[in-house]
């Protein structure tokens, strides 16, 4: 397979050589705005994702203020937010809008678009040895659909009735009925439109990633010689392609119910606000949840797999050791990909789902823990007897493993339907998914940014700021989310504006204050990272060697500032897997080096 495309590569080369000189004369718009260079598109995704992350994080700071200090008013909030915080207090509708937007933005626009969008685009061509994506045009469109979705989502913050406020899962009937919640009026239409654009973007990107990995690998790059990052991004794309359309179909039915008078999800509804019984009968609100979670669960892995892949790669490079159990790593990612489609109903144990059906989903859900455990033990063995360099990327990769363990283990609680009856929709769930897919995916993303920043911009980020960023964020993440498990074990429900009127949950006032304070500090530290990022693009220490980390993979054989086409001259040929570190007394052997006669076998 890997030999078949040599021709394609050559024609690319010719194209590149002929036009090489013209690249300097590209207009600003075609080079940086409507660019078809995968590296520029990756940066566009990254920076858009970062802007979203700041906004989404800021939203959490605002609602954490309310949760931590429910009886206080903050007049300056009104100065910033106007009607959202009349009299210095966040109103219920805006609290719920903030919670909803925080979830939507971080899950989709940051950890899906921002994470796979950035690293699939940046790494796939560079690590498989391709000039660009299979279809650079589709790739560009993928970003601009993402951008359009972002604009529509952003605009929903400014409509009179407010953005959608029924939780990021958007369960109908709440999301279908404007009379049940002001956020479900025009805000919800914008939300659906933005999400539809997002799905289009994700599909264009995903198809491209898959076809590039399958067809554009350089000579010698068999599938089993791919770095684990590429495997992870490949499985991520497959997950997205197969599950996002189902989400879109769910949204379309929702749109029909909203505006077309259909009853897919609606039945037996009386709206107190208007004193009216609705005409709909015979729909099932649960149908939506099936459609939603058929994406929603794979989505968790869409977020997590790239982080796993990058952590694997970075751990190996900085341990100066091969990743332990390469084939087991690929196999476990494959198992996760398959199982991801078979566990969605574990989000629905308490919807009145048939208990027998529920039991099947318990079994399949807990099965996922097996490949996850394999990965954890392989990571641990990778750093065993290593020679570790604590680069910022390495620190975040280690942090990723720690968080993945912590959050993964609580998944064993929630995946077990018996315990889910008690813990469902409590703070235990918040703690679980924030650790395992929120913070840990962020750690994977940070690891990736710090590790590949020199390749992206030809400069280093500031190490001291990176170290501060890492330690404060790691400690902060645990301080915020660890105690939330206890709130969950008290049965404290999610998505409440105020707990002070509840005899069962008002004992956590001090804890909520503490969590909010830490959240604010951690958010401020992220701004330090953002500053470090942008400052270093222009003023960071310059990269002087082609391969600063001493890594084996192909991206480090490209020039420090690769042009469109990545390699000058021929694309390098690959002769070995990506993990020959500390072999035969050598620090590392690049993938491009032919296997010598007296080399030991692994």
């Amino acid at each position: 397979m890997s030999h078949g495309h040599a021709e394609v590569a050559t024609s690319h080369e010719v194209h590149h050589d002929e036009h090489g000189a013209h690249h300097h004369h590209q207009s600003f718009v075609s080079k940086y705005v409507f660019s078809m260079d995968h590296k520029i598109i990756a940066k566009q995704f990254l920076i858009t994702g970062m802007i979203w992350a700041i906004l989404g994080g800021l939203m959490s700071v605002l609602f954490r203020l309310q949760l931590g200090y429910p009886d206080q008013t903050f007049p300056w909030l009104e100065d910033i937010l106007g009607n959202w915080a009349r009299g210095g207090k966040i109103t219920p509708e805006n609290y719920y809008a903030l919670v909803t937007m925080h979830g939507t933005v971080l899950v989709f626009f940051v950890l899906t678009g921002g994470l796979s969008g950035t690293f699939a685009n940046f790494l796939i061509p560079l690590q498989v040895g391709a000039r660009d994506m299979a279809s650079p045009m589709m790739n560009m469109l993928s970003y601009w659909f993402f951008f359009a979705g972002s604009i529509v989502m952003l605009s929903s913050l400014f409509v009179q009735t407010g953005p959608f406020s029924g939780g990021w899962t958007a369960y109908p009937p709440l999301s279908a009925l404007g009379d049940a919640s002001p956020g479900s009026k025009v805000g919800m239409d914008l939300w659906i439109t933005a999400m539809a654009l997002f799905v289009v973007s994700s599909l264009l990107g995903g198809l491209n990633y898959v076809s590039t990995v399958l067809n554009l690998r350089t000579k010698g790059m068999s599938m089993t010689r791919l770095p684990l990052t590429i495997w992870a991004l490949f499985f991520t794309a497959v997950l997205g392609i197969l599950s996002f359309p189902v989400l879109l179909s769910g949204f379309i039915l929702l749109l029909f119910d909203r505006h077309g008078g259909t009853s897919f999800y609606l039945s037996d509804i009386y709206i107190a606000a208007t004193n009216q019984a609705l005409p709909n009968e015979g729909g099932s609100a649960i149908l939506y949840q099936h459609l939603f979670w058929f994406l929603g669960h794979p989505e968790v892995y869409i977020i997590l797999l790239p982080a796993m892949g990058m952590a694997s790669e970075i751990l190996s490079v900085n341990s100066r050791k091969p990743i332990f159990g390469y084939m087991a790593m690929v196999g476990s990612m494959f198992a996760i990909t398959i199982l991801a489609f078979l566990v969605w109903a574990h989000h629905m144990f308490v919807t009145g789902l048939n208990p027998f059906l529920g039991s099947v989903f318990v079994l399949l859900t807990l099965l996922i823990a097996v490949p996850s455990a394999i990965k954890v033990f392989n990571w641990l063995t990778t750093i065993w007897k290593a020679n570790i360099k604590f680069t910022p990327g390495m620190l975040f990769a280690l942090g990723f493993v720690s968080l993945f363990i912590s959050g993964g283990l609580t998944g064993i609680f929630l995946g077990n339907s018996t315990l889910d009856i008690h813990l469902h929709d409590t703070y235990f769930v918040i703690a679980h998914f924030h650790i395992v897919m929120g913070v840990s995916a962020f750690f994977g993303m940070f690891a990736g940014i710090y590790h590949w920043f020199p390749k992206m911009y030809g400069r280093y980020m500031n190490n001291t700021l990176a170290f501060i960023h890492f330690w404060v964020t790691l400690a902060g993440a645990y301080l915020i989310f660890w105690p939330m498990h206890y709130e969950g074990l008290a049965g404290m429900p999610r998505r409440y504006l105020d707990y002070s009127n509840w005899a069962s949950f008002n004992q956590f006032g001090d804890l909520n204050k503490f969590i909010s304070t830490v959240a604010i500090i951690v958010f401020a530290i992220q701004l330090l990272f953002v500053f470090n990022f942008f400052y270093s693009i222009f003023k960071g220490r310059k990269v002087t060697t082609q391969n600063p980390w001493g890594a084996t993979t192909l991206e480090w054989t490209a020039p420090i500032h690769p042009g469109h086409g990545n390699w000058e001259g021929e694309i390098p040929e690959v002769h070995r897997w990506a993990y020959d570190y500390s072999k035969d007394g050598r620090d590392f052997i690049p993938q491009t080096e032919p296997i010598s006669a007296n080399e030991s076998k692994h």
């Binding site: 509708e93 919640s181 280690l398 998505r495």
Partner: protein
């Protein structure tokens, strides 16, 4: 912007500036010192911090548990038998995951510290070992089978059929409160139909208390008054249950999805409009007993809505009072049925603007025959 706001912002900006200057300076220092030396120094610091983090983390876990354990439900017995099963399951899971948690986290941070870079050493080339991988595939698989086994055993116990003698109570969610209904003396719930809901005349649930004719797109529908509903008790104050008497909740929603969350009984079930759900359990302690057990004179069995249902979600509180049997009989004797003949005499405004209902007898699911 207020002065406090400006002041805070200024402090934040100053903090950033100082941190940045230090960071920048350290970069220059490292250039002066030589890259190798400063790398080694940083590596030692970060390696050391790995152990510090591990130790502080373990202390933190202990301390957090000490500070928060008594605020959870775990020190107190569950108020239902199902909840006892759930508590047992929780303990088994905690034990197994706890062991794994400590072993893996300690290994992770300890390895990171121990195998930090040294010029004297070279990393051990160790790409795979099939035996090891087989071990950590099968051991987790077997452990999880144990957890699945226990879990499903309890799950089927909890979700199984309610006992024959279970008392039946209907609970209906609406934005933002709960309505409770008891079948009355005849032990049979009367029929209801959501288009009959008439808040102004005290018909919150849409009981079919009177004959009614409705225009629908499918033709005119005739609803016959259901006498079984005349004695149904409808209240929004509290759900009164009997200690040691199994109860089956029939759960409905009038508008959006809600969730009957019963933290003290460790139970939960969604209220879905159009699709009634059920949940059964046996309360073990009266409210008064729970006040003593929890050492909290203000203790109440609160029903918390656990499914995002709109802007008043956080205030959607219900109440369960668990009492002794004789108290319950006394309470029920004092309740008046929701049906008021006077209310039916008034003209029915609900029927007038009624658009197009395809009449389905939604009460059919919940009627009980005793």
């Amino acid at each position: 912007m207020t002065t406090t706001g400006l002041f805070l912002l200024a402090i934040l900006a100053l903090g950033f500036l100082i941190t940045f200057q230090i960071a920048k300076a350290s970069e220059y220092v490292s250039v002066l010192k030589g890259e190798k030396k400063s790398f080694e120094q940083n590596n030692r610091i970060n390696g050391f911090l790995m152990v510090v983090f591990l130790v502080l983390g373990i202390i933190g876990v202990y301390w957090c548990n000490k500070a928060l354990y008594h605020k959870t439900l775990m020190p107190f017995p569950s108020a239902s038998e199902h909840g006892e099963n759930i508590d047992t399951m929780l303990k088994i899971t905690l034990l197994i995951t706890g062991i794994v948690f400590f072993i893996t986290q300690i290994l992770l941070f300890w390895f990171a510290y121990k195998y930090q870079h040294s010029d004297k050493r070279r990393a051990f080339y160790y790409p795979h070992n099939n035996k090891l991988e087989l071990i950590w595939t099968t051991v987790p698989a077997i452990t999880l089978c144990i957890l699945v086994g226990f879990g499903l055993y309890y799950w089927f116990k909890i979700t199984g059929e309610a006992p024959q003698d279970a008392m039946q109570v209907e609970i209906t969610g609406r934005q933002f409160g709960w309505i409770y209904r008891y079948p009355g003396k005849d032990n049979t719930f009367g029929k209801k139909y959501f288009r009959m809901i008439d808040e102004a005349n005290g018909n919150m649930l849409g009981m079919v208390w009177k004959d009614s004719t409705m225009e629908t797109p499918n033709g005119v529908r005739n609803l016959k008054a259901d006498a079984a509903g005349f004695d149904d008790i409808i209240t929004t104050t509290a759900m009164v249950l009997v200690k040691d008497q199994p109860v089956k909740l029939i759960i409905n929603s009038r508008d959006v999805i809600h969730d009957v969350g019963l933290p003290h009984f460790r139970l939960k079930m969604d209220a879905v409009p159009g699709t009634p759900t059920t949940l059964w359990f046996t309360p073990k302690f009266t409210t008064e007993e729970m006040k003593k057990i929890t050492n909290n004179p203000n203790f109440e069995y609160e029903i918390a809505c656990d499914q995002m249902c709109g802007n008043g979600h956080y205030s959607m509180k219900g109440l369960i009072k668990v009492v002794k049997r004789d108290e319950f009989i006394l309470w029920r004797a004092k309740q008046e049925p929701g049906y008021k003949p006077a209310a039916t005499a008034a003209p029915a405004p609900a029927a007038a603007p009624a658009p197009q209902p395809a009449v389905v007898d939604s009460a059919a699911h919940v009627t009980t025959k005793k």
